[in-house]
């Protein structure tokens, strides 16, 4: 590796590292599985490396990185489809990933929480991709509507409407299952 390469690598590292956690979470929200998220994350980092000149000019690289990832995901949606094959070991079989939900010293309540969360996951899975993404970004990840607009390029009104419909659908599904009670 030449000194120019080393310098470029060090700059890349310094620019990207503060944003990696958020970018990883965003990749998972888009792709839906850990292997797909990591493929997407890797592909976007590789793509961004070639755009270092753009990156260094940005005041807020976080939103730009998410936008690059979103566009890359939309372009290759089939590649990152939610049902792709995954390399697994036995303890990683489906529906086991949530069993590590942190407990609060009350086994009965923990079991109820786990059950509720798994029902919520199934309800989320039944939403369309667009609706699921907006509700996860806004209500689970804490993105503002304006941040989602910046990433997706969709008008705030459209995003708000999707969010409204997604929540309404979740309420319907969970009420039908008796999952969300007011108690």
């Amino acid at each position: 590796m030449t000194s120019v390469d080393q310098h470029q690598r060090a700059s890349f590292d310094a620019l990207l590292r503060p944003h990696l956690d958020r970018l990883y979470r965003f990749a998972f929200r888009l792709a839906g599985t850990k292997p797909d998220a990591e493929d997407l994350f890797q592909d976007v980092l590789t793509k961004v490396f070639a755009r270092m000149d753009d990156l260094v000019e940005l005041e807020e690289p976080g939103a730009w990185l998410c936008r690059v990832m979103y566009n890359h995901f939309i372009d290759g949606r089939r590649r990152y489809a939610r049902q792709r094959l995954v390399s697994v070991s036995e303890d990683q079989l489906p529906e086991k990933n949530l069993e590590s939900l942190p407990g609060k010293l009350d086994p009965v309540r923990d079991a109820e929480r786990l059950d509720n969360i798994m029902q919520l996951q199934r309800a989320l899975d039944s939403l369309s991709d667009d609706h699921r993404l907006v509700v996860l970004l806004h209500d689970s990840e804490g993105y503002k509507l304006s941040e989602i607009q910046e990433i997706t390029g969709d008008p705030v009104g459209t995003i708000k409407s999707r969010l409204h419909r997604a929540r309404a659908r979740l309420r319907e599904i969970l009420a039908a299952e008796g999952t969300i009670s007011g108690a």
Binding site: D5, L16, L45, T46, S87, P94, L124, D125, S126
Partner: protein
């Protein structure tokens, strides 16, 4: 009238997006209306569950994943050697390299034969069941295509109404699991066909689905 306002403006009220007068009106109303208070409580439980889901569903990357990803991006970005070697010399090796079988619930040991097993499952109408198709390959495969063809009345959750689903995938060396959550919408049953294609080669796996 105010009860309707709660129902119509529930999202904006919980998000505190209404103007001060409306917020105050609904605060006062919910303090005295048990039905609206219940609606509001349910919504707050849903929001709290979504927030908790955000963290509980998020996997943690391996400790060194970010370091590796940065290094690989820099390396790939400069050299552009994107796994092309994997595509060479593959051809007819697939038939010998790939073993397919099905599991339901537990992971079975790899069979010692290279022909796919005949498998069957029983389902109950409208009752989802996850079937794990296991593909074992001796070498990593990239840019493979998976096609799942479903019999009439059997659907994959999330792909309602689709009789054929195709997507690109890659397989790591060793066991790879495709979890398919199926739901039967009619008592017909039939044969589910999963076909993996790579270059000019393909392998198919058939599952007889009986609906009881």
């Amino acid at each position: 009238m105010t009860c309707d306002l709660i129902k119509n403006q529930l999202d904006n009220y919980v998000d505190a997006q209404l103007d001060v007068a409306d917020m105050q009106l609904l605060d006062e109303h919910t303090a005295h209306c048990a039905d609206c208070q219940e609606v509001l409580d349910r919504e707050r439980v849903l929001r709290a569950s979504l927030k908790e889901y955000g963290d509980s569903s998020m996997p943690q990357p391996d400790v060194a994943f970010f370091d590796r990803a940065l290094a690989k991006a820099a390396q790939s970005g400069t050299k552009r050697q994107r796994n092309r070697w994997v595509m060479t010399g593959f051809g007819g090796a697939m038939a010998a390299a790939l073993v397919l079988w099905m599991i339901s619930g537990t992971l079975l040991e790899a069979p010692e034969f290279a022909e796919p097993t005949m498998a069957s499952i029983a389902m109950v109408i409208e009752e989802p069941r996850t079937v794990n198709l296991v593909f074992s390959t001796a070498i990593a495969l990239t840019d493979a295509t998976m096609t799942v063809t479903l019999p009439e009345g059997i659907e994959v959750m999330g792909f309602q109404g689709q009789r054929e689903i195709t997507w690109m995938t890659s397989l790591g060396e060793g066991k790879n699991v495709l979890p398919l959550t199926l739901i039967a919408t009619s008592p017909l049953g039939g044969e589910l066909l999963a076909t993996l294609r790579h270059a000019d080669d393909d392998r198919s796996f058939r599952v007889q689905v009986e609906v009881i």
